[in-house]
Each structure stands twice: as C-alpha cells, then as structure tokens.
C-alpha cells in the first residue's frame, strides 16, 4: 500500500457462512458441493449465545451483528492480544443493508399491534453501522469506527480503506471485513421481482446456463496491522494487503457498464496501488455472482486487463451464494485459505462456460497453485467497484 509506506499485515481472521462456521469449516465447505436447489442459502440452526455474555445481549443484536461478533471472536483469538493504544485501533466495516430482519419484524409488529409495541431496540439493531460499532465497543477500539455501505462492494471497500489507514500511519491496527443477513421475505421478493435471483435455484458463476444469483448471508472479519509492529510483537502474519482500487461506473443503478470498463479501471487502480503488473497476479477471485450481466462484464474486464490466458479465476458463490455486502469479506477469507492450502477452490456447479467468458475459470476440482498476489473483485448496485490485492506473507 502506498501512503506513509507502512506494509499492512493480516494477522487474524474469522468466518461465518452457511457452508461453515470458522475458517476450517468454511474451507471444507468451499470444496464441497454448491447450491443447486434453492434461491436462498442461510446459516442453519444459528446459535448466537456462544458469542454473548447473556441472552439479553444476544437478543438486542440483529443477526447481522451476531455474525460480525462471531467472526470477530475467531479473528481476535487468532491474532492474539494487540499491544496498541485503543485510540490507535479502528473498525472499518462493510455491510450492504444492516439489520433488515429487525426492521421487517418491527414493521409487522407495528401494523399488527400498533406503535406502542415497536421495540426500543429497533433503531440500534437496524442501523447499518451497528455491526461495526459492536466490534468497536466489544474490543475497545477508539480510533475511527466507520461503516461503508456500497452494496455488494462494501466489504472490499472497507478492507481497502482499513488497509489505507494502517498504511498511512493513522492506525496501528484496524479491524475490518463485512457482514450481511438480509434474507427476509420482502428482500427476497424484491430481488426476485427484479429478476436478479436464480430462477432455477442454482448458483453457477460464468456457466453458459447461469440465470441469476442465490441470496446468501455471512460475515468475515480481519485484523489488519502495521507489518513492522506485527513482526515486533511476534505475531503470526497470514497475508499482506498489497493494494486496493475503488471507482464507480457512473452508468446505471444495477447494470454494469458495457464491457466492464469500470471494473477494468478498478482492477488497474488496484494494480497501480500495489505497484504490480497484470502478469504478477496469480489468481482472480471473481465477484462472479452467476447473473448473466455481471459475469459477462466481469469476464470481459478480466480478459481486457490480464490478456490471454487470464490468471486462474474462481468464484466461491456457487457454494456461498451471494451475501451482498459480506461478499468481499468471505472472498478475502477464501483467498487467505487458498494461500494456506495451496489450492484454488473450484467454481461450484459450473461445467460449461458461456461464450462470453474468455477466462481460465477453475471448475470441477480444486487447482494446485503456488500462492501469489491475488485480486478479489466486488461490484455493487449503484455502480460501485472494488478490487483488493492480497499476497501471501513473505
């Protein structure tokens, strides 16, 4: 990362996803079968109690905040005690929506029972900054605590901004990532009526027969630290944030710009930030939502930036579905796991690429690789583009 010149280390992370809770279960999930028969995928039998001091505290947290705190717990356990002043530690978090379940429940309560029955916790539970604020409060992080809400690019933008605060020397450590839990009946209807959801209930990014995304949820949280300070405290450095890009299509509220020109520019910004050439990139972790439009534009953008053949490209959304604002967080976790296991997980369910996909998409079996700089893309409604480049620790 450019700026004050500090390198940015990742020293801990945690994951909560329908395919697995905790990084190891998540990895096994990524290698397992994808979603083939559902328009939504949620964490089954979620129990928030292990992550709260009592049931009252759990109940006054929306599920999206519960996910965030659960992932943060794993991240902090991995990272170990951070020896920095609280004012030098921040929380830069991402979410697309926030506590939508709470809002929807309380709207129903108001209609059925009247205004006097609306919960006094509605506001603190539904506000989109609640999850990031909860992390800041629980871990006593008194530096910047901000939430980025750029739809499905939110967590990627959060990670990029968090890394910049460390690189610039404004913080010694920043907790970042993203969370989403917005699979409500109303939201599902909204996405379905805009024909974004898969009508077949199968998430198959880049496949010729892809027909929309499967609506998911989850969270991942990362501890970013100044590299030299992490070394000095003897931390185990897992990976490095090498660069980040952020821009906008300024084209259409939902459709990507033709040819993915916004995405191309975004990837080039990230490469420039990392001071890397396209040929230095060894894996593309694609946004790859399984919608016809996104995957076509993204594949064109990747081909334009990296030439032919492209680096191996994968999308984990065949397994995870699309967790909106948490997408970039789950994908960053997948990248770190692909470093650890020296395998690129396959794009689940995808067997026959569309004619418009001129990329080396990893399909079928996981592919062995020598870990190297990896770019993770995420794009959000509103024309928001985010690219993050992560590298193995060395």
């Amino acid at each position: 990362m450019q700026g004050a010149g500090h390198r940015v280390a990742i020293t801990g992370y945690g994951v909560v996803a329908p395919c697995g809770i905790g990084k190891n279960a998540f990895w096994r999930g990524l290698l397992g079968p994808g979603i083939t028969t559902a328009k939504t995928v949620e964490i089954a039998e979620w129990d928030p109690l292990p992550y709260f001091s009592n049931p009252k505290e759990a109940r006054r947290s929306d599920r999206v905040e519960q996910f965030a705190l659960a992932a943060a717990q794993e991240a902090f356990a991995m990272s170990g005690d951070l020896p920095y002043a609280p004012t030098r530690m921040g929380s830069i978090f991402g979410t697309g929506i926030g506590g939508l379940r709470t809002l929807e429940d309380q709207v129903i309560t108001r209609v059925e029972k009247g205004e006097r029955r609306v919960s006094p916790f509605l506001v603190p539970m539904m506000m989109s900054n609640a999850a990031g604020a909860a992390i800041s409060m629980r871990y006593h992080l008194q530096g910047p605590a901000e939430t980025i809400c750029t739809a499905c690019a939110a967590a990627t933008h959060a990670l990029g901004y968090a890394a910049r605060l460390v690189a610039w020397g404004q913080c010694d450590a920043v907790v970042s990532g993203g969370a989403e839990s917005a699979v409500t009946l109303t939201a599902v209807a909204g996405f379905a009526n805009m024909t974004a959801l898969s009508s077949s209930g199968c998430s198959k990014p880049f496949d010729a027969t892809r027909d929309g995304f499967v609506f998911g949820e989850g969270a991942a949280v990362f501890i970013l630290e100044r590299w030299d300070a992490a070394v000095a405290r003897g931390a185990n450095i897992i990976a490095e944030v090498l660069g980040a890009g952020s821009n906008a299509d300024a084209h259409h509220i939902t459709a990507p710009s033709p040819g993915g020109v916004g995405a191309q520019a975004c990837m080039r910004l990230a490469l420039n930030d990392a001071q890397l050439r396209p040929s230095d990139i060894k894996q593309v972790n694609a946004h790859g939502t399984s919608t016809p439009l996104n995957d076509s534009a993204e594949a064109q953008a990747v081909a334009a930036v990296f030439g032919s053949p492209t680096p191996p490209m994968t999308s984990i959304k065949g397994v995870t579905g699309h967790p909106l604002g948490a997408a970039g967080a789950l994908e960053a976790a997948a990248v770190l796991l692909s470093f650890e296991h020296r395998l690129i997980p396959p794009t689940a369910n995808t067997s026959s690429l569309g004619d418009d996909i001129i990329c080396d998409v990893v399909m079928g079996e996981p592919r062995a690789w020598t870990p190297g700089p990896t770019i993770s893309n995420n794009f959000g409604f509103g024309g928001h583009n985010g690219s993050l480049i992560l590298g193995p620790a060395n």
């Binding site: 009592n54 049931p55 009252k56 505290e57 006054r60 006097r116 029955r117 919960s119 006094p120 916790f121 603190p124």
Partner: protein
C-alpha cells in the same frame, strides 16, 4: 400481594432481562441489581403490558426504581 401475579411478573423479568428468578425480589433495584438500562425497562414494560393486558403511560413510570414499585403499579391495573 398475589403470588400468581408476582410469578407472572417474575417470568417476564427472567425472559426480558436475562436474570435469575431468585434475583427478582420486591427490593431488587432495576439498574443496580438487575443491570437493566432505560431501554431494557421500556422493553420490559411492553412485555408486562402484553402479559397483564394493561396500559402503563410513560408518566406513571417516573420514579420507579425497584421491582416492588413496578409490580404494585402493574398489579393495581391488572384486574
């Protein structure tokens, strides 16, 4: 004091405030003994209103700090 009413009151407190039933005594102070903040109390009063089919205007809650005071207020309304 009706034990049946107090048991129902206690049940609400246990559920809403996440406290052990043994702590819900007439002398218990919401803030200090039951660790309930002002938003907890709003939610708790809502639950009591549902449980006892009563209405407690906000004004009547002024000055109420203990379980006994709150219970008496509810019990007087619950006919």
């Amino acid at each position: 004091m009706s034990q049946e009413l107090f048991d129902r009151f206690t049940k609400c407190a246990v559920e809403l405030l996440s406290v052990d039933a043994s702590k819900v005594t007439r002398e218990a102070r919401f803030k200090e003994d039951l660790e309930a903040d002002s938003l907890d109390l709003v939610e708790f009063v809502m639950a009591l209103e549902e449980e006892f089919s009563v209405e407690v205007p906000e004004k009547e809650l002024e000055g109420i700090t203990t379980v006994g005071q709150a219970f008496d207020l509810i019990a007087a309304k619950a006919k």
